[in-house]
């Protein structure tokens, strides 16, 4: 439900996630100062070829860009009004190229691979109090909490509708928030009971 990657394995899937991330960063640095529309058109054509190489699934991804079209039109229009057609085209093409490239990395890299590629970065941040293990836990918890929260809210909604025809009142939301905060504390207790944070194991309940 959560993952919208490209189903068939492609050659880009086999490139390590770290390489792809660094490549994306480098490309964005190189693309920014380019002011010639011919170079940008070449880059766009190359990206389009990569997408086309992925077959139908790759081309289907392009349709996800449709909501961004008005933005591209407006941005290039503003630029064209200020600095001529060339400037407008360059800005729109640069934006489009960066969007497509970033999407390319996203759809060919699994979440765990990205997380792994970022572990060295977290290790660098360790002096600032970032703990890679806790970071990974937090990400996993978010992904797990989303469906849990949706189910719990739907159950509340159903319970209300079974009892009343009136609209769902805002105070139901307050009760829901209190409920999920209790849920969070129970999850924390369960984690500590399983030895996630040794130092906190005896913080929850007084020692016997």
């Amino acid at each position: 439900m959560m993952i919208d990657g490209l189903a068939p394995q492609t050659w880009l899937h086999r490139v390590p996630a770290g390489v792809k991330l660094v490549g994306l960063a480098l490309l964005s640095v190189f693309l920014l100062p380019v002011g010639d529309w011919r170079i940008l058109a070449g880059v766009l054509a190359m990206i389009a070829m990569v997408y086309a190489g992925f077959g139908r699934a790759g081309m289907a991804r392009l349709s996800l860009l449709r909501p961004l079209l008005p933005l591209l039109v407006v941005v290039s229009g503003v630029q064209a009004a200020a600095g001529g057609w060339n400037a407008g085209g360059v800005v729109a093409m640069r934006l489009l190229a960066m969007l497509l490239l970033a999407d390319l990395v996203s759809m060919t890299t699994t979440m765990s691979a990205l997380m792994e590629a970022l572990t060295p970065v977290f290790r660098l941040l360790r002096p600032l109090g970032v703990n890679p293990r806790k970071m990974a836990l937090a990400v996993a918890l978010v992904l797990r909490f989303v469906p849990v929260l949706m189910t719990r809210w739907r159950a509340r909604e159903e319970a209300w509708k079974a009892r009343s025809h009136r609209r769902i009142p805002p105070r139901l939301v307050a009760a829901f928030v209190a409920d999920i905060l209790q849920l969070a504390d129970r999850v924390a207790e369960a984690l500590d009971a399983r030895g996630f944070d040794r130092s906190a194991a005896d913080r929850h309940s007084p020692p016997l």
């Binding site: 693309l31 961004l68 630029q79 759809m107 990205l114 937090a138 990400v139 924390a188 913080r203």
Partner: protein
Amino acid sequence: MESRAIVRIALLAAVIAALGMVPSIVLPIAMGVPITAQTLGVMLAGIVLGPRHGALAVLLFLFVVLLRAPLLSGGRGGLGVLFGPSVGFLLGWAPAAFVSGLVMARLKTLPVFAAALVAAITGGIVVEYASGIRPDGDGKAEFAAGFGCNRGIRAG
């Protein structure tokens, strides 16, 4: 940081994500920047968790989005959002949650609902839109439309 805090931060990040499933209104006039219920979750994070943890919940949520979970409203996610039109709003979320939490903490003497309302308005609307809409050099406001585009406008 103890696990209780981590789980609460993750919970509020998930609340922001779950609010993204509420259908959003994409106004063409706002140039592809959706008006969503997710901002409500951001304010809630600041109000419930306080400034620091609230901002951390937002950062965690954004991190998960960049890891390409399609949790932004409209099912968007992945590194592409960094170059999308709404990135100014996303950057404004962390300060918005922080300010909401700060205001909430300052208004301890007020009744809870009134305090939460004031906190949500200052944090969510004032700070959020201040970072989403940036004043331009010559005084007129324009939407912050992504790093590439912003720099493009400067350079172009």
